[in-house]
Every structure is written in structure tokens, then in C-alpha cells.
């Protein structure tokens, strides 16, 4: 019987776990100094993440989803997206949002239980944090469809996790993107766990990238802990999309070095040995080793950066802490463009209730 189709899935890595070059680098990395901004962003992300966890542990924000270990993917996306592109994040994307210009205090507001955490004045077309798994991917199809209809050279880039690839929304979206050859990129951040369920329990396939084959779209895997590889692969995908060459599915391999969220305890389902092994593969040391080997980064630079990010993080925390609580009427303020008169009494009633509450506590 004839073979009627054959497929292959490529995987890209430029820097190994120690930061040694695994092969010839792409042109943008010819001068190592070009990667210094990525490194600085990654260090800031990690410092911010540690502070957010500390704020949760001390009751100053609610449940928080850590970004520990995925900094290279966030930095890469920040580097390759244009300002007018649209990012459709999941809930673990505060790193890339920083690089979209969104002040990280928004992330603290979001996990601090305030809708204003989804107000991104600096990147107003980007979608908000998205909690229901994979449901942002159909939105990306609609966004990319609108861009294509209006002949705009823009790209919709959606992120999701490995667990999301098991959902119908994921397949429905990449399938539709293929049909219309949309300017859309989906990056699967494969951090190996959907809360406690390991990657092997999501799908029998060797890679998640190959799910794109069934949708007839370009797909590849990349070492998501190697910022050069992630920038290269996602960057090419974004530029193909922008040039009208259609969508791409990128599986970015990484590892969730944190618990799923601050409400999780990963020691229940994975070993200390496994975690220790994965720390040898994390993205920041790898990039620092490479930059240092190129003479683009020194211990003095590292010290200065440490002081700088500490100050930046502190500024974010202050901006968060000094944001006053919203009034209860915020529940209705933006529910509709104009609140139907039928619900006006509820706003009045809850405002009155809140005033009584204040008086009760004061008196």
C-alpha cells in the first residue's frame, strides 16, 4: 500500500544547559550584547515572581501562579512581537506582559483580586489574563481573522499550556487558523505538568507540536529554556504569519520549577530528585554563562542588575499597595456599556449595604 503522507517535527536548540553553543547561532545573536536586554528582563521576571510569592505568603495578594522557569519563553515573545500585534495570554504570562509595557503592578492587582489588573493602558489591544483553559485560542482566531480581513500586517499570538492541548478549543482553533491561513501563532508552554498530571498523561503523541500536523499548519518544537532558540523559532513563526504565510504551532519545552500556584504543593506528585535535575536546565544561568563567555556580561553587571531589579520590584509593590480598593459599584460599572435600567436598583442597594457596613465598623 502506498504511503500517502509523511511528517517530521523539528526541534531547535542553540545553547545547551551549560550555555555552550550547540551549533551556529542565528544572525540576531551574532553580537551577544543583543541578548543582554533579554537577560535583564528574565532576571526582573524572576525577582518579581519571588516577591509575588512572598506577598501571597504574607496575605497581601491571593493565589498566584508562578512564572519560575519559563522566563526565556516570555523574554523571547517580548522580543519578537510588534507593538500592534495582539497577545492572548493564559494566566501565567506576567513576564511577557511586562515586555509588552504593562506595569507588573497590574499582575499584583490581578492576583490581589482586582479586575483593574486586566487594564493594560500600555498595550490596550492585548487580551486579559485567561483562566479557563484553552478558551483564549478561539479568541485568537477571531482576532487574526479581523486582522486579515482588514489587510493589516499584524499577528495574534496566543499562549497556552501542555494541558490545554487536550481540550477541544485548542484543536478547533488551530484547525480554523489553518483553513483561513490566519496570521496567528500558538505557543504551547510545555512545562510538563497540568497541576499534578504529567505530560505523558495528556497525550500519547511524542510531541505536542505534531498536533499541528492534523490541522495542516506549520509546527515545531523548541527548547523553551534557550532564549536564542525561542526567539528564533517564535520570531520566524511571527514573521511568516505577518507575511501572510499562515499560522504556526510552537511547542516550547520547559519545566515548571514552582508549584502550579501558591495553593498547590508539588511535593505530592513529583520527586525532589526530578526537581533538582530540572534546576540544572533552567534558562537564566544558561544565558548568563553564554553572555559571560562572550564578554557581554560581568559579575559587576550582575550586581548592578540585582540592585536595579530590587528597586523596580519594590516600586511595583508600592504601586500595588497604594491602589485603593475599588468601591462595590465597580461590580456593575463596566458590566454593560450602559447598565440596563432593570439592574440599577441592585447598584443602589449594594452601595447602601456597603455604607451600612462601613458605619457598623466605624461605630
Amino acid at each position: 500500500m502506498p504511503v500517502i503522507a509523511r511528517f517530521e517535527v523539528r526541534s531547535t536548540q542553540y545553547l545547551d544547559a551549560e550555555g555552550r553553543e550547540a551549533g551556529p547561532l542565528p544572525a540576531f545573536a551574532a553580537d551577544a550584547r543583543a541578548l543582554v536586554p533579554d537577560y535583564r528582563a528574565m532576571v526582573l521576571m524572576r525577582a518579581f515572581d519571588a516577591k509575588a510569592i512572598a506577598l501571597q505568603r504574607t496575605g497581601q495578594i491571593g493565589t498566584y501562579a508562578s512564572t519560575l522557569g519559563k522566563e526565556a519563553i516570555d523574554a523571547a515573545l517580548g522580543a519578537v512581537l510588534a507593538k500592534d500585534d495582539v497577545l492572548l495570554p493564559s494566566y501565567r504570562e506576567s513576564g511577557v506582559l511586562m515586555l509588552r509595557g504593562v506595569s507588573p503592578h497590574r499582575t499584583l492587582l490581578y492576583w490581589g483580586g482586582d479586575e483593574r489588573g486586566n487594564v493594560f493602558p500600555e498595550s490596550p489591544r492585548d487580551f486579559p489574563f485567561n483562566v479557563p483553559i484553552a478558551s483564549q485560542l478561539p479568541h485568537a482566531v477571531g482576532v487574526a481573522y479581523a486582522m486579515k480581513l482588514r489587510r493589516e500586517p499584524r499577528v495574534a499570538l496566543a499562549l497556552c499550556g501542555d494541558g490545554a492541548t487536550s481540550k477541544g478549543d485548542f484543536y478547533e482553533a488551530i484547525n480554523a487558523a489553518g483553513i483561513w491561513k490566519l496570521p496567528m501563532v500558538v505557543v504551547v508552554v510545555n512545562n510538563q505538568y497540568a497541576i499534578s498530571v504529567p505530560r505523558r498523561m495528556q497525550c500519547r503523541a511524542e510531541t505536542l507540536a505534531q498536533k499541528g500536523i492534523a490541522a495542516g499548519i506549520a509546527c515545531e518544537q523548541v527548547d523553551g529554556n534557550d532564549v536564542i532558540a525561542a526567539r528564533d523559532v517564535v520570531g520566524r513563526a511571527v514573521e511568516r504569519a505577518r507575511a501572510g504565510e499562515g499560522p504556526t504551532l510552537v511547542e516550547a519545552m520547559t519545566y515548571r520549577l514552582s508549584d502550579h500556584t501558591t495553593a498547590d504543593d508539588a511535593t505530592r506528585y513529583r520527586s525532589a530528585e526530578e526537581l533538582a535535575g530540572q534546576w540544572k536546565n533552567e534558562p537564566i544561568v544558561r544565558l548568563r554563562n553564554w553572555l559571560a563567555s562572550k564578554g557581554a556580561w560581568t559579575p559587576a553587571d550582575e550586581q548592578a542588575l540585582g540592585r536595579e531589579v530590587a528597586a523596580q520590584v519594590q516600586k511595583c509593590v508600592e504601586a500595588y499597595l497604594k491602589t485603593p480598593r475599588p468601591g462595590p459599584e465597580q461590580m456593575f460599572e463596566h458590566l454593560y456599556a450602559r447598565l440596563p435600567r432593570q439592574y440599577a436598583w441592585q447598584v443602589a442597594s449594594l452601595t447602601e449595604e456597603a455604607e451600612d457596613h462601613v458605619e457598623h465598623h466605624a461605630g
Binding site: 479586575e115 483593574r116 486579559p128 479581523a146 480581513l149 478549543d169 480554523a176 458590566l335
Partner: protein, 326 residues
């Protein structure tokens, strides 16, 4: 002015909206070359092109989710779900995203989309093609649910839904699609959303209904008139939010209220209206509010659908009960 059916009025409103605003796009299964399984979108693709009248892959969750993305990016999508019985996977998007996007971004993004779907029983369709899920949609904050009962209302309300800056679920009574014609003026004028219509004035009892049941209610009012009972019939038209002012004004006049819906009884909109009337017009009532509804069972396949749907006789019997209450 032309004398047209309800499905033709939908088509006319879509064409008018697409003509007037190039950001209006139509999407759904079979809506393109085929013009939709009920022909609601007939001729639109030829006139406006395949990009603005898009046949989608067969995935209802995608259709609704795509519409959310399009709307957030500035288009005015009008998405069709082929039958209300297939809209359940789209509820995820309507509930988690369409109704929440404006609120959860504090007005930064919005979702001016319309999700159209044929609704209700009585057309001898296959299983899953005769559902009445309006209460499920009406439970979703941040959206509107509109359910026209005639060609002229369908035209004006659909234009209003498309112009509205927030998401609207637009339920079309499939058994009225071709049941009668009405004069419709293609003037691009929207009807007001959130407002009920008094479609027949009366003094003894208020019958509240929407969609195809408005006609059964009017038939019942004719029968009751012959018995000397004067029924006022209200067509809600927008079932979320409900125009209770119009209902209450009528009930305060008549003292009696029946609510007619073909949806299952438990947690139906009839229950919501009954609760509101009881809360706000108790002292005007001379009898408890009567709910005349579909049964709390699966919408049956069509050999039994006439026993499922509230018939004129069932409505008349319900109103007689109100008249006889002591």
C-alpha cells in the same frame, strides 16, 4: 414596504446591517454558499463576499469564541449556531468571555457580538433540533437575550442587537420562520431593546409570553374573549433584561398573571417573572401567578411534541383557573 416571512426579515436585517457598516461580518456553519439551513443568510455571501460571510468549520465553541475575538478587535460579528440544541458548547464562551470581557477589563475591551440561533419546537425536526434554552442564556450576566415574535420585530430587534455595544443572544422562533408574513419596512430602523410590547390590550388577565408562544397566547386570548374574558397579551421581546415595568403595570390593572413558555418549567423565565410579580405586585393580585410551561422533561421527538408544547387549550385552561380562583 414588503410583505415577508420572519426568516426573510432576518435576511433583510443582516443585509441592511452589512450594507451600512463594513465591520459587520456573518459567520457560522453553512451560512455562505448554502445561505444557512433555514436560508436566513441566503444571497449574503454573493453580495458581500466570502470574507464577510464566512462558512466556519463545524465547531460551535469556536464560532462563539471567534466572535468574541472579532468583536474585541473591532468587528461586529453576527454568528449563527445552526440550532439552539447545538449551542451548549457555545455557552462556555458566552458565559466565561462574551458576558465578562468588558467587566473584567474594566471597559478596555468589549464584545459587540450577536449569537443567532433558531429556537423552539413544533417543526417536526430531528432530535436535539427543538430546544428552548433561553433561561440558560438569561442566567448569564453581561449579555442580552432577545426573542422576536414576528417579521417586523425580528427585523428591528436584530438591527438593534447588531448595533448594541454588548453581546446579544438572538433566539429565532423556528416555527414562525415561514408561518406568516408581515409588512416590514426596510428602513434600517432598530427597535428598542429591553422593552416589552403590549400586543393585545385587555382588562381581566395579563398573559406574558415571548417568541412563538406569543401567537398561542393571542389565539388563547381570542378563545377567552368569546367566553367574556378580556386578556392583555405582552410580548417580552427582550427576555434578558426583562421589562418588568410593562408587566407590572399590566398586572396592577388586571390583577391576574399567566406566563407562557415552551421551555421546561423548573427555573424557567416563567419562574423568574412569577417571582417578580409576587414580590412587586402581590397586593394587586387576586390569584396566584400561573405558569403555563413545557414539562420538566426532555424536549420529545416530534411524534409527541404537540403534547409537550403548551397548546392554546392549555393556556385557556390556565387562564380559566385564574378566573375561577377564590
Amino acid at each position: 414596504m414588503s410583505n415577508i416571512t420572519l426568516v426573510e426579515s432576518i435576511n433583510l436585517a443582516l443585509a441592511r446591517a452589512m450594507e451600512e457598516d463594513e465591520s459587520v461580518v456573518v459567520l457560522g456553519e453553512d451560512v455562505g454558499l448554502n445561505g444557512g439551513v433555514f436560508r436566513a443568510t441566503a444571497g449574503l455571501q454573493k453580495r458581500f463576499g466570502a470574507e464577510r460571510v464566512a462558512d466556519t468549520p463545524l465547531a460551535e465553541g469556536l464560532i462563539a469564541g471567534m466572535a468574541v475575538g472579532m468583536a474585541a478587535e473591532g468587528l461586529r460579528p453576527v454568528a449563527e449556531i445552526q440550532f439552539a440544541g447545538f449551542a451548549y458548547t457555545a455557552i462556555d464562551q458566552m458565559l466565561n468571555h462574551a458576558g465578562r470581557l468588558r467587566h473584567r477589563t474594566q471597559g478596555r475591551l468589549s464584545c459587540p457580538m450577536v449569537l443567532r440561533t433558531p429556537c423552539g419546537a413544533g417543526i417536526h425536526a430531528p432530535e436535539h433540533h427543538s430546544e428552548s434554552p433561553e433561561a440558560m442564556f438569561a442566567h448569564i450576566p453581561g449579555i442580552r437575550v432577545v426573542y422576536p415574535s414576528s417579521p417586523a420585530k425580528a427585523y428591528g430587534l436584530l438591527l438593534a442587537a447588531i448595533l448594541d455595544p454588548d453581546p446579544v443572544v438572538f433566539l429565532e422562533p423556528s416555527r414562525l420562520y415561514r408561518r406568516f408574513k408581515e409588512e416590514v419596512r426596510d428602513d434600517g430602523a432598530p427597535l428598542a431593546l429591553d422593552e416589552a410590547f403590549v400586543v393585545r390590550e385587555g382588562s381581566d388577565v395579563t398573559i406574558v409570553s415571548w417568541g412563538a408562544m406569543v401567537h398561542s397566547s393571542l389565539e388563547a386570548a381570542d378563545v377567552l374573549a368569546a367566553e367574556g374574558v378580556s386578556a392583555e397579551v405582552i410580548d417580552l421581546a427582550t427576555v434578558k433584561p426583562i421589562d418588568m415595568e410593562t408587566v407590572l403595570a399590566s398586572v396592577k390593572k388586571t390583577g391576574r398573571c399567566a406566563v407562557v413558555t415552551e421551555a421546561p418549567r423548573t427555573c424557567s423565565l416563567a419562574s423568574e417573572i412569577s417571582a417578580n410579580v409576587s414580590e412587586q405586585a402581590l397586593l394587586s393580585l387576586v390569584a396566584p401567578v400561573e405558569r403555563i410551561t413545557g414539562w420538566d422533561t426532555v424536549t420529545p421527538m416530534f411524534r409527541l411534541e404537540e403534547h409537550y408544547l403548551p397548546s392554546t387549550a392549555r393556556i385557556v385552561a390556565g387562564v380559566r383557573k385564574l378566573m375561577e380562583f377564590q
